[in-house]
Symmetry: C2
Subunit: 129 residues, 2 copies
């Protein structure tokens, strides 16, 4: 399916994941939610009540806005219109630094917007530095 | 939920993942399938036709039996009755060595048997050594 000069769907999905981690590090809740489809779902962590729709998703990420953040992609696998990736997120709020390395699973639409996100991690995976 | 002397569900799930990787490295198709619930499903890679039931799952893994194999767990996250993990699998068949590092997502029953497995990787992730 790869032709010189064209961008494959897998490449667009990879680009969205990279944009996502950049937005989690630097963006507002609305910036991050803009990478999602309008009717997307978010379940973070897996087992918690899912949030549906871009407004609820923006609200979820707004909690990050008061902290300094850094992200790093550790591993990314793309198959079909799905991705799974392992990453590190470090947040600093009021002098406290927390680090966690979740594994997220996402699905994407034809425009490589996120249609669902499920985050695999537990509070016991969180480290304070 | 953690009480001294008891084994939590998360710990049992972690043990099943470790057993799974040991069986993928050393076991028969039936050995690996024995870690699955009777009516479990397997989708490897994600996007391919799922296989249902322990017999179909044993058949899937039987393809490994002719090769020397090694596995290594790179990262594991457990939340509720779900796990996601990144691992390396190296197979040697007729002098050819292939290596791939998928991210797998599994769900588990109350006995920590695997009820579903979905493997995120693409043929382009496979390296020949």
């Amino acid at each position: 399916m790869t032709t010189s000069g064209t961008v494959t769907h897998a490449e667009r999905i990879r680009a969205t994941v990279v944009e996502y981690l950049a937005a989690v590090a630097d963006g507002s809740g609305a910036d991050i939610a803009a990478l999602y489809a309008e009717d997307a779902t978010l379940e973070d962590p897996v087992g918690s009540a899912p949030r549906t729709g871009r407004a609820a998703i923006a609200e979820f990420y707004r909690a990050l806005e008061g902290s300094r953040r850094a992200t790093e992609l550790l591993a990314l696998r793309v198959t079909g219109s799905c991705a799974a990736f392992h990453f590190r997120v470090v947040t600093e709020t009021g002098g406290r630094v927390h680090e966690v390395e979740p594994i997220d699973v996402m699905t994407f639409d034809d425009q490589a917007r996120i249609t669902s996100m499920r985050a695999y991690w537990a509070p016991s995976d969180m480290r304070q530095r």
